[in-house]
Symmetry: C3
Subunit: 286 residues, 3 copies
């Protein structure tokens, strides 16, 4: 019986990234659906839960993705509301790599330094990855800030995660590279989560910061988010800091993502959201 | 050479149900297309008939689905109009499970009692399953009624099937559970075909009906269509009647659906619509 | 590791033709995306280049298709602009079979006669196949005309190919079968590239032309483009001319198309556009 992964994407195209990793994680077929909403997902889920005998249901699984974490979370919740008794299949939420990238990133930060009591700044952290990384760092005891060009977006992101995960996060407005330099000047941990190809920080903004223990950049498309970090950096010492580039910690992200896909097919009850995915990340990060 | 099943769905999403059964029925790949219309299907069909050598064409097949039986029937007809000489592939029509669910249901009703001369009521039977089940029961000699909350919908459904299949069907307006109770009070056969999660009949409405020989419910999502039937019932005797729940006869429906998919790849000329599918259902129902 | 072919189609449906040939060419999975544009393709390409290790990237490839060659060429260019250093995968452009059908057709014309110095007419040649065949014939030294019902469409097609490939092409207005008869009366080579089921030329228009060495019709759907040619003709002598029908040279087109797909997976750097595809066509045509 074939392992079928239904990829429910809230965007107009099912993410190619998620499709490839779905196959590499062991799905026999990845079936993408675009523009999935809380309304339209119900019938799709019914098709997933009513088609196979109880012992075979573990061979059907659902992946929820897309660029909006809020839309993804809502679809994930709608998927679970459609389940009843044993009419259910395993589900993973990873909108825009939010959970796997954040979990892999934070696992690598934790490999590089202790987190508790440190000041951590998520640069351009209002997106899915930044939001989830903020939750993980706050739960590990860090004092966490999220910067954004817009104060209202920073505040919204902090509120969304605070209310969902009961953590305290600090919104910071930082519109320019110089503003972001100011935001990190007393931080021990910096994680740049900006859009592909957008520079957030120049080398001079961080190269002389003695308190900066770890700096990580999730952007793999030139130009990179943090000048002076190589995208291949895997815990490289540069200036005063341990550096992680997008491909450097991306190896763990991909390994984690594939491992999560593989776990979906262990049974028909697995639910993978931020906590479960971070727990797997910690195991893989050793 | 891979067995390719092209799933042409008239809805905005290719049915997950049909995709899963496509794989379980033996297709190597199920390729879903949404929003398929009589106009857009022509080029899709040309791609199916011009790509493989004559001896290999049996490895390409077409499945037409979607929530509207009328739209599906029109697309099915348009598919066949595009074929010429040996430029053709096998095709199955099963909009919303209309043919497989109706055929499996009626085959199970026929396992439970003789049909000819009986009064049969399709509760909320204006959808694809109800329409097709009505045709099958009428052809087996039953006096068949279709109920609907709206008289015009009931009339339209009866007319559509009457003109296509030359059978006589009786439209009945039944807006409430009590109306439906009235509609079945002299019926020997009741088949509830309503929407998922919608209660159509309370237990007290049928539990004391001595003439009611078989009662069947196609709704597998709580709350069920007929109170007092368990969705797992497989010919269970309850009160005066033999009872079939959605999962109970759904095993045959799924087996039938998979068998039909498998038959599509026997040659490049197989056409599976209601008659052919009911004939396979009868073989499988033993 | 599975060979994944991402089919980026500029039309509203990913071409079934291209999907089938993708599988028959050796892709393990063909993942279709519709309505792809230069804007939306960037994120899709990022998913293709960031998901697999360098040695594994050859197992991911991109096919660009759709009915508009211009839209396809723009998407193809946008795909390549997204690549950087070794973050790239193999790509093939074949909008509407433009490259494979044109290359196979011209390879068969070249099998049948010498091209250099001949007058060649592409009937209804403003579409993708006609445009590309015109380029190939001009490069082989023919004096090439493209006919269209509309002079402006003929001129646009000639200009598009002239500016891109530095060849000279002659636009000709020919609205009726009689106009097209006039357009070919001193041609040695005629290639009919019109829409499926549209008659372009009657038998009397070409049967007595002594100078007409080869005549080819790309239309496989009755009625055929050139009356008097059978769609199965493979270099058949009819009247004064060697004749090729759509299925007759279509065998090479399909073989070529499949071979190109297979080549995509040889490494992660292969780019298949008209020149590369014609070169493969010449090898296959012997």
């Amino acid at each position: 019986m074939k392992k079928l992964l239904f990829q429910f994407d809230t965007d107009a195209f099912p993410s190619v990234f998620d499709t490839v990793v779905g196959y590499d994680g062991g799905a026999d077929h990845v079936i993408g659906h675009a523009n999935v909403t809380t309304d339209t997902v119900v019938k799709l889920v019914e098709g997933a839960i009513f088609t196979r005998a109880p012992k075979d249901k573990k061979n059907t699984a659902i992946f929820v993705g897309g660029s909006s974490l809020q839309a993804g979370q809502e679809v994930y919740d709608a998927v679970m509301s459609t389940f009843f008794s044993n009419f259910r299949v395993s589900v993973m939420l990873d909108s825009n790599g939010s959970n796997t990238t954040a979990a892999a990133g934070v696992a690598r930060l934790k490999n590089s330094t202790s987190i508790s009591g440190k000041k951590a700044v998520l640069l351009a952290g209002t997106g899915p990855v930044g939001q989830r990384a903020a939750v993980l760092l706050a739960r590990l005891g860090a004092d966490v800030s999220i910067t954004s060009r817009s104060m209202s977006r920073a505040t919204d992101a902090c509120k969304a995660m605070s209310s969902q995960y009961n953590v305290e996060l600090n919104p910071v407005q930082a519109a320019t590279n110089q503003d972001r330099a100011t935001a990190i000047e007393d931080a021990q941990i910096v994680f740049a989560c900006g859009a592909a190809g957008v520079r957030l920080l120049e080398q001079s903004h961080w190269s002389s910061l003695k308190q900066l223990q770890v700096i990580m950049d999730a952007n793999a498309t030139p130009e990179l988010g943090v000048e002076g970090i190589d995208m291949m950096d895997r815990g490289e010492q540069r200036h005063e800091s341990i550096c992680w580039g997008a491909i450097g910690f991306g190896t763990l992200k991909l390994d984690l993502h594939r491992t999560c896909i593989s776990r979906l097919f262990d049974d028909n009850k697995t639910l993978l959201n931020i906590e479960e995915i971070f727990s797997i990340a910690e195991q893989l990060a050793g």
